[in-house]
C-alpha cells in the first residue's frame, strides 16, 4: 500500500504530456480531414456534398468511445492490430474532423458572397479563390470556435485510457489503484485538465470579442 505523495504526483504530471501530444496529433490529422470535408460540403457537385454531410452527421451522432472501440477491438478482431496510441489518435482525429469540418464550413459560408463574386470577376479559378481570397478571411472567423473546440478535444482524450494508453487520466487511475486516495488524486487530475483547458477557453472568448469589435465597422 503506497501513499499518495510527490513521486505519484510527478508521475501524473508527466503523463499529462501524453495528453497534450495526443491532442496535438488528433488536431493536426483531424484538421486535414476536416478541411477536406468542409470544402466538400460546399462543393458544386451534389454527390460530394451529400457524402460529406453524411460523414459529419454520422460521426457527430455516435460516441467517441464507440469509434475508439471499433478501431481498437473491432479491427483487431479483423486481424488488424493497432497499437493503443495509434487507435487513440485515429479515433480522436475522426471525431475532431467532423466537428472541425462543421466549424470551418460555417466560417467559409460567413465570408460575404461578394468576395466570391469579386474574385471570380478577376478570373481566378476556384482553388485560387479559396487560397487567396476566401480561406484567409474564413481562417480569421474560424479562430474562436476552433480554439473552443480544442478544449473539447483535450477533455475527450481522457477516454483513451480504456485501451490501456497511459495518458493523464490513466496515470490518475493507476495511482488510485495503488494508493486508494481517489479524492486527492482526481482533484489533482482535474486541476491539471483545468490548467490546460481554462486558458484555451478564455483565449477563445477573447478572440471572439476581438473579432466582433473588428467586424462592427
Amino acid at each position: 500500500m503506497q501513499t499518495f505523495g510527490w513521486p505519484e504526483a510527478y508521475f501524473i504530471l508527466r503523463a499529462a504530456s501524453w495528453t497534450l501530444a495526443l491532442t496535438a496529433i488528433a488536431f493536426v490529422i483531424g484538421s486535414i480531414i476536416g478541411g477536406v470535408f468542409a470544402i466538400m460540403r460546399l462543393s458544386r457537385i451534389k454527390l460530394l456534398r451529400r457524402f460529406a454531410a453524411g460523414y459529419i452527421l454520422v460521426v457527430q451522432s455516435i460516441p467517441v468511445l464507440m469509434v475508439l472501440f471499433m478501431s481498437y477491438y473491432g479491427l483487431s478482431a479483423a486481424g488488424i492490430e493497432l497499437p493503443p496510441f495509434l487507435a487513440a489518435s485515429a479515433s480522436l482525429a475522426i471525431y475532431a474532423s467532423a466537428y472541425l469540418a462543421e466549424i470551418w464550413r460555417g466560417s467559409i459560408e460567413s465570408v460575404p458572397r461578394q468576395q466570391w463574386e469579386a474574385s471570380a470577376s478577376l478570373a481566378l479559378t476556384t482553388p485560387q479563390q479559396y487560397r487567396y481570397v476566401i480561406l484567409p478571411q474564413a481562417l480569421r472567423i474560424s479562430l474562436p470556435p476552433t480554439v473552443g473546440f480544442l478544449v473539447q478535444l483535450v477533455k475527450n482524450t481522457s477516454i483513451v485510457q480504456v485501451v490501456g494508453f497511459v495518458d493523464l487520466m490513466r496515470a490518475g487511475m493507476l495511482v488510485n489503484n495503488a494508493t486508494y486516495q481517489a479524492f486527492q488524486i482526481f482533484t489533482l487530475v482535474a486541476a491539471i485538465y483545468f490548467a490546460i483547458c481554462f486558458p484555451l477557453s478564455r483565449l477563445s472568448r477573447h478572440l471572439e470579442k476581438v473579432m466582433n469589435a473588428s467586424r462592427s465597422h
Binding site: S61, M66, T187
Partner: protein
C-alpha cells in the same frame, strides 16, 4: 440484452436532461436576480465543469466521494455526474440567450408594472429559452452520447452491454457496429424529437433570429 442497455441509456439521458435543465434554470435565475457573489459562485461552477473532462467528474463522484463518507452505486453516480455536467453547459447556453435580450425589453416590462420576478420569467427567461433551444438540443444529444462513458463505472447502459456481448461472443466488430448503429438511431431520433418539441413550445419564435452555437461542445 441490447434492449436493456438502450433502455438504461434513454432513462439516464432523460433524467439527467430534466434535472440538469431545472438546475440550470435555477442557476440562471440566481445569476440574474441574486447578488453578485451568487453570480460569481455560479460562474465558477460553470467554468470548473466545462474545463474538466466528464470522466474525471464521474470518477470524482464514484471513487472520490466515498472517502468523504458518501457512497453511491454506479447508476446514482452516473446520474449525478450527468446532471451536474449538463446543468453547467445549459447554464452557459441560457446565459447567452439572456444576454441577447435587449435592455429596452426589460425596461418596458418594468414600466408595465411587472414585478422583477415576472420580468425575469416572461421577458427574459422564456424568450431566451426560445432562442437558445437549438443550442440546448445539441447539448442534450451530446449528453446522451457522453452517457456511454458511464460504462466505466460498470453501468450496464448501451456501451456497457456492448462490452459484455463482445466478451461472450468474441464477435467484436459486429457487436460494435450494431451498438454504434443503435446510438446513431437514438441520436437522430432525439434530434428530431427536440426540433419538434421546440416548434411546439416556442411557436412564436420562428421569425426571431435564433441563436445557436457552432461550437460542437461535448461533455
Amino acid at each position: 440484452m441490447i434492449l436493456n442497455g438502450v433502455g438504461l441509456t434513454i432513462v439516464l439521458s432523460f433524467v439527467a436532461i430534466g434535472l440538469g435543465l431545472v438546475l440550470a434554470t435555477l442557476m440562471s435565475a440566481l445569476r440574474s436576480l441574486a447578488g453578485s457573489w451568487a453570480g460569481y459562485v455560479v460562474d465558477a461552477y460553470v467554468e470548473l465543469m466545462r474545463n474538466t473532462p466528464f470522466l474525471v467528474q464521474l470518477f470524482m463522484i464514484f471513487f472520490g466521494l466515498p472517502q468523504l463518507g458518501i457512497r453511491m452505486n454506479g447508476i446514482e453516480a452516473s446520474l449525478l455526474a450527468m446532471t451536474l455536467n449538463l446543468a453547467a453547459y445549459a447554464t452557459e447556453i441560457i446565459r447567452a440567450g439572456v444576454d441577447s435580450i435587449h435592455k429596452s425589453q426589460i425596461e418596458a416590462g418594468l414600466a408595465l408594472a411587472l414585478s422583477r420576478r415576472q420580468v425575469f420569467q416572461y421577458v427574459i427567461l422564456q424568450p431566451a429559452f426560445a432562442r437558445v433551444w437549438p443550442a440546448l438540443s445539441s447539448q442534450f444529444v451530446l449528453m446522451m452520447l457522453a452517457s456511454s462513458i458511464c460504462s466505466f463505472v460498470s453501468v450496464q447502459e448501451l456501451s456497457g452491454t456492448a462490452a459484455i456481448i463482445e466478451a461472450d461472443t468474441f464477435r467484436s466488430f459486429e457487436t460494435y457496429i450494431v451498438v454504434t448503429g443503435v446510438y446513431l438511431v437514438l441520436a437522430l431520433s432525439l434530434k428530431l424529437a427536440l426540433n419538434w418539441l421546440g416548434r411546439k413550445i416556442f411557436p412564436q419564435v420562428s421569425g426571431l433570429a435564433r441563436l445557436s452555437d457552432a461550437h460542437g461542445e461535448a461533455a
